[in-house]
């Protein structure tokens, strides 16, 4: 039996400062997340400069807590990893610089991790799900359908042409006065509404590729709200939320199922912030069953931005021989599968 490999993963690409310790790419020893949501709420979205300032204030506490909760000291860590893109460049630089410095001073290998590949790798936590599979990664900043051929091997099949799914949720939630962040707010409101009340147009539904668009839907919702207000008619916020959510979910699921069929793959996974949407999970299970596919999703805590997923992605990169240089830079628009 080979020696265990313990990885410390650091994540600071957006508004969560996070660190996690993972053994052999699947066993989570700790996962500490310091969320800044309350700070950004009053701005209605993430303010990059404020996020970066907060990261630098809390990073040492977050990393130390992750080590203590895992019951390890830095010397017992085999690999140190940090997200280097995509994300807010100023925010990325905090975790990346910190991770490189920690690794350098401890003479440990350093691995830079692609944030989206981290979300995909969150599926491996627990150790019962493995490639190949089709994965929908959707969150505030990104929406992709990816064919995961093997660990670290990706084929991007489709992506959003405009807004990310999470972004659309944020914008619609704001228009409905439901607050920020939009994902959980819409999901909660939708539970009290009739999802068949309003028929919004489904963007790209009939297209044969796997790309999608949320900007048209967002505009349709805003136009609907305006029309109702002009007519002096009451707006049922819950119905709008439920109808909007159903629209997004139906489009995403259709694309996902089509992608699985086209690759003849019977495993589908969803990851990223939007993957914690219960309605999406339930609908996907129903549709996947019809084609005999199995659905997997990481626990909700591993769907938000976190350090454990970064550690897991780094583990699979590391055992394939990938080690990053001390000159690794933050890359705000890093693509899936791009290696630096």
């Amino acid at each position: 039996m080979d020696k265990d490999i313990i990885v410390l993963g650091i994540e600071s690409s957006c508004d969560e400062t996070a660190a996690g310790v993972v053994k052999n790419g699947k066993e989570v020893l700790s996962n500490v997340i310091h969320s800044q949501i309350e700070i950004h709420r009053k701005y209605g979205g993430v303010v990059p400069e404020i996020a970066s300032r907060k990261h630098i204030e809390v990073i040492s506490f977050v990393v130390e807590e992750a080590l203590q909760k895992a019951g390890v000291i830095l010397d017992e860590i085999d690999v140190i990893a940090a997200t280097y893109g995509p994300g807010l460049v100023g925010a990325l630089l905090v975790g990346l610089s910190y991770g490189k410095a920690l690794a350098y001073a401890k003479s440990k290998p350093f691995v830079g991790v692609n944030h989206i590949e981290g979300h995909i790798a969150a599926n491996y936590l627990g150790g019962e799900f493995a490639p190949p599979f089709i994965c929908l990664v959707a969150s505030g900043g990104h929406s992709h359908i990816v064919f995961v051929k093997d660990y670290g091997e990706y084929e991007v099949m489709g992506q959003t042409m405009d807004d990310a799914a999470g972004e659309a949720f944020d914008k619609v939630a704001r228009a409905l006065g439901l607050g920020y962040p939009g994902g959980p707010a819409i999901e909660k409101a939708a539970k009290m509404g009739n999802r068949s009340a309003i028929e919004f147009p489904k963007s790209f539904m009939e297209e044969r590729n796997f790309d999608f668009s949320f900007s048209g839907l967002k505009t349709a919702v805003l136009n609907y709200l305006n029309r109702q207000r002009q007519k002096g008619e009451e707006i049922n916020v819950y119905d709008v939320a439920a109808s909007f959510q159903r629209n997004v979910v139906e489009v995403l699921i259709k694309k996902l199922i089509d992608a699985a069929k086209s690759k003849n793959i019977d495993k589908i996974s969803i990851a990223g912030g939007v993957a914690s949407n219960s309605f999406l999970r339930q609908k996907l299970e129903e549709e996947a069953k019809k084609i005999g596919a199995r659905v997997h999703y990481p626990d909700k805590i591993y769907c938000t931005d976190n350090g454990a997923m970064i550690a897991t992605a780094a583990y699979y990169d590391f055992i394939k021989g990938k080690i990053s240089g001390w000159d690794l830079n933050a890359i705000p628009y890093l693509k899936i599968g791009e290696k630096m």
Binding site: I56, G90, L93, S97, Y98, K100, A101, Y104, W326, D327
Partner: protein, 230 residues
């Protein structure tokens, strides 16, 4: 006492190894890209000076003012190193370090960093004893001229701000204004390190948990929110 000094608050990336009885080495690159070059520079410095990293007793780092991103690259690097080595951090004002480049000047020293739109981060220091006359702040060029008028001695401007505002300051202040040479307008980690050694002797160190940059300015979004009165 062996200090690794790091300053990435301006265009210059500069790192040095400094002891109580002298400088072991310094490495400066006057060309941005700090996120790419800072860690390799530190690596190179340790290798060429043949100092094992675990002999370092303190990390000195520029606490600001300066480029927000530059400050955070330096701060995150310093905190990460200090965390790994379990040693304290010494935060040093980037303006004070610039003034130290010309500390033998006997008049007034005014270190300036461009804060855009004819504003500078600046302070006023007496050259002979390094007494701080005016605290760090954001000043317009006219305000700087006003500060200088309170004193009869000549004032030596030093720092990157000199490149942007030399002519304007000369116009406003006249003959009393002197300007440092290029070699002194560049941030130098040895200056930062020597100030740090004094601070260490005074017990002015902080834990890596608590160290954070001093930005002087709020973020634009905070300013807007305060302006809206919410």
């Amino acid at each position: 006492m062996k200090v690794l000094a790091i300053d990435s608050s301006s265009k210059t990336a500069t790192v040095a190894l400094v002891e109580e009885n002298g400088v072991i080495g310094e490495y400066s690159i006057n060309y941005l890209r700090h996120s790419v070059i800072l860690m390799p520079m530190i690596d190179e410095l340790f290798k060429k000076c043949e100092v094992p990293i675990n002999q370092i007793t303190h990390i000195a780092v520029s606490e600001g003012p300066g480029s927000f991103t530059g400050l955070r690259i330096g701060a995150a690097t310093a905190k990460g190193l200090a965390h790994a080595l379990n040693i304290p951090i010494v935060g040093v004002s980037s303006l004070l370090a610039l003034a130290y480049n010309v500390s033998e000047f006997e008049g007034l020293i005014c270190p300036i960093i461009d804060a855009l739109n004819e504003n500078v981060y600046g302070m006023l220091i007496r050259g002979d004893n390094f007494e701080v006359l005016t605290e760090v702040g954001v000043y317009s060029l006219e305000e700087i001229a006003g500060l200088v008028r309170n004193y009869s001695s000549k004032v030596l401007f030093v720092g990157e701000g000199v490149y942007s505002y030399k002519n304007k300051l000369q116009d406003i202040i006249g003959k009393k204004a002197l300007f440092a040479k290029d070699k002194d307008n560049m941030a130098r980690a040895v200056s930062l390190g020597e100030i740090a050694i004094q601070k260490i002797k005074n017990g002015e160190v902080v834990s890596y948990f608590d160290f954070k940059p001093v930005y002087i300015r709020k973020s634009a979004a905070e300013v807007r929110l305060i302006g809206e009165g919410s």
